[in-house]
Amino acid sequence: MIGLRRSRLHPWAVWMVIGLGILALAGCGGADNPATATPTAGGTPAITVQDAWVRATTGTEPGQMTAAYLTLVNTLPHDERLIGARAEGAGAVEIHETTMQGEMMHMAPVSGVDVAAGASVALAPGGLHLMLLDLDRALVPDDTVVLTLIFESGLELLVEAPVRPLVQE
């Protein structure tokens, strides 16, 4: 049945995006790459964010909501737990998870996302995501949204997430 499953997030595609991201950042001399708030040069253990993006809003009036997605990579020797986030221009950000119970879609806030030492966790469509609420402006493709990810350890990461169109090829 593998051939029938949605192919939105093949591991190779994720890695290709990450690879392209690294190439793009290298190309523009991103020494202060905001997506990697903790120094990683020389493979220093860190928690890093890959492939962050925000879906464009569907309306133009203030008060819109949308979702943000990203992958957390933890090369630290200890577990971390994402417990919240802020987003520039959003009145509130909640960590949500979509689950399917049969064909019934259920979405609910979760208190946090564990990222074990040496592991990575994807916040991706159809699963975990950040819900950005009460936005003060419409988000259109090529905008960026600055996200602050808050971890239980007290660590905060700044991420600059590009806005992607509603319909992606």
Partner: protein
Amino acid sequence: MIRPRPRLTLPGLVLLAAVLAGCGLAPDPAQPTATPLPGTVLNPPRVLADFTLTDHTGAPFGLDDLRGRVALVFFGFTHCPDICPTTLADFKQVKTQLGSATDEVAFVFVSVDGARDTPERLAAYVRAFDPDFIGLTGDDAVLRPVAADFGVYYQAHAPAGGSGNYLVDHTASVFALDREGRLAIVFPYGTPPDAIARRLRALL
């Protein structure tokens, strides 16, 4: 992506037999493999009760407005940030893949959140995906029997997380109606757009 093996395994044979028995379809000769397309074909198609909802322009909209066209229908709500926009983005890709045949297909988003989804809000929402998409809304009393007729259930939750925003659980299947406005195919959530497009072509 693991390619389906050309030889049929026992579970494969059972599945194929079940699909053939269930929908009375011969394998599509255009398909290079024996892999059946996702989706449950209703044979015969199921007659739906007529209904009157309100479309995104504020006009009454019923089953008669869909007759003569094939329709692709999804139930959701505009404050749903994850799978509703994902599914409508898939609808847009289905429309693109159908090419000129798309004139004969209606793409319909039915709100299960009539309290917040006014025609104005729906109009902005569906047009953000495609100017031809149709949004429908209605009071809970009007909508619930329509949804139930499709086999769709929904349940609003009390606000959580302190923002006052509430979420609505809902059936996430996608439905295809034939030109007579009968329920012809039920696609499970996450059916790839190309599979939906191929199935719709068979209805056109």
